[in-house]
């Protein structure tokens, strides 16, 4: 049938994404500042943790550490708020899911899309901060689009899975909340995987870890951890294919089960 695929309905995807953004900033005083608030809070928390490390190790906090935490905070904030928002997206749009036919994957994807704007705004601020910290540019920055692409792919995969799951079982939403709250301890945001020495590679099994390490490395003129990055890309791709399949399998039951 015509008009049933996402590509045919890209205008719809655009409008739903636009709606999410518009609603978020309507009747809000801080507006776009919200996009910076969450990463900024993460950076502050990271500074406290880093300060604690430095007291233990006797090594002072370097400017590079501040830069590293800042660079990791922005994609992490994107990942967390995307998942949070996307998980609720199908349930929040019950009206549309049960009453009008549209490709339902639009809702979780639009949720991620709207966070992508925040991600861009925060990245813009990050560039200024890095400039103030005198972090220069290097060829390694060319890795950034690749890193962002893998990050978005992985985020969309989980969004599809969790949004469909939450539609059937509200437990999924709470589960995601709990996991996201503590996931920051399992992911190298405040710390580097290298701090764990040979144990660090266990941390890298978290598909986000190579990405965050990668972001931090390329901004600080080092190459990303290539084999791990390939692993992360592979996991994201498989997760994406699996999630799309899972989503489409369940889609016929959405309207009756929400």
């Amino acid at each position: 049938m015509k008009q049933r695929t996402l590509l045919d309905r890209r205008d719809l995807l655009y409008m739903i994404t636009w709606r999410e953004i518009r609603i978020k900033y309507k009747q809000s005083v801080m507006g776009m500042l919200w996009a910076v608030l969450m990463p900024a809070t993460i950076v502050l928390a990271g500074m406290v943790v880093r300060f604690g490390f430095s007291l233990l190790s006797g090594r002072p906090v370097a400017l590079a550490d501040v830069a590293s935490v800042s660079v990791r905070a922005v994609p992490w904030a994107f990942f967390v708020s995307s998942l949070r928002f996307a998980t609720a997206s199908l349930v929040a749009n019950t009206q549309l899911v049960t009453k009008i036919y549209l490709p339902r994957e639009i809702f979780p994807i639009a949720a991620v899309g709207s966070q992508l704007l925040d991600f861009c705004v925060a990245s813009g601020v990050l560039v200024i901060v890095l400039a103030l910290l005198h972090v220069g540019v290097s060829v390694q920055l060319l890795w950034l689009p690749v890193l962002v692409l893998i990050l978005v792919l992985f985020t969309i995969s989980l969004s599809l899975l969790f949004s469909a799951g939450a539609l059937f079982f509200r437990d999924v939403k709470y589960l995601v909340e709990v996991v996201l709250t503590f996931a920051i301890f399992f992911t190298p945001v405040f710390y580097d995987a290298a701090m764990f020495g040979r144990w660090g590679s266990i941390l890298m099994f978290n598909p986000l870890a190579p990405l965050l390490e990668g972001f931090s490395n390329v901004v600080l003129h080092a190459p990303p951890p290539l084999p791990w990055l390939a692993y992360s890309a592979a996991v994201s791709l498989f997760a994406f294919l699996g999630a799309v399949r899972f989503f489409h399998r369940l889609e016929p039951y959405f309207a009756e089960s929400v």
Partner: protein
Amino acid sequence: MSGPVLDVSGVYKKFRKGELYDSLRDLIPALARGLLGRRWRAAPEALAEREFWALQDVSFSVQRGEAFGIIGNNGAGKSTILKLLSGIMRPTRGTIHVDGRLSALIEVSAGFHPDLTGRENIYLNGTILGMTRAEIKRRFDAIVAFSGLEEFLDTPVKRYSSGMFARLGFSVAAHVEPDVLIVDEVLSVGDYLFQQKCFERMSDVMSSGSTVVFVSHDLRAVSTLCARSLLLERGRVLHVGPSHDVIRMYLSRAQAARSVDPEQELRITDVSLHAANGAPQVEFETGDGVDISVAAEARAAHNDISVVIQIVDENQYPVFDTCTQRLGAGPVSLAAGESLRCTFRVRLGLAQGTYRVNAFLHRYVTDRPYERWLSAATFFVAGTPTVRGVAHLAPILMQCEQTASVVEEIAHEPVHVD
């Protein structure tokens, strides 16, 4: 391309009563049971506990450019069919094939977001209903003009009245231009003028070659718009055929359920319609004679009764009203246990449409009702399309000719420019 644009064959749809497993605590035992009992693999025809069929073996097809009606009582499965047609749900069994873009005038305002302005919502809802942004941009002025909400375009729709809300929704939906349009009772949106607009718009859509599936309780609208219809009863197709036949069948099966206070001393027990030859009938032609018969019984003695009948149209507007008193009969007296039958013969000078009969027992002098039975009987008048409205005043075209000389004089008159 020929062949049906919409083809539904052997469709079954199963639903479950009560709650689905709503949390993992409920799911895990159910899954375990499913694995052991293989219930999940059971044949689709089998009904598990608490399941029921919303639709059973529904088949029909609609040709390109055709207007097709679906009628049936509440709960007959009309909405389920619409949800299956629009793809919101999938049938348990059977296939549905739609050739082309399908759009539903069902939940025309579902896509609105209250915090966005009218203008923003036109774009949002338009894309939700299947238009591209370019299409909306092209039709934007037409949509706004249709809604009549020019002044409020930049007001958030949460400040709209419910009528404005519905009007904006319909205006967007009416401009989608699909191959198949599904309409569900939306013609009751807004005031009379807006309804007329909607009706005209629907007729335009039909005459432009779109296929329309029309679901309604409004039998007059169905008979006006649709040549063919389908009658659903409890999830099964009773009949598919010319709308007149289907409507006649529907009306003959529609029994007005009525609850009566057992303590009531005086009550109407039966209201029925008969053709002049005495056979029960619910579909008539304009000008037919019909006998409206009212039966009543008394549990206690009453001696000042007058029997009133009233015919109302679909909007419950009284079209006609008469009673034994005004027709010259004196007050009727009933002793306890006695019953009464009263037959009025009327000639149906009515245009086509659905009409209902209300019956009353009034106190003879004060005209106050003892007892009433609203919508006691329903009948349908299959008039000619030569008249519209309620009354059929039997028009005859006496003269309609061109007075040629005048036209020619005007045509040949030289044009003066001052």
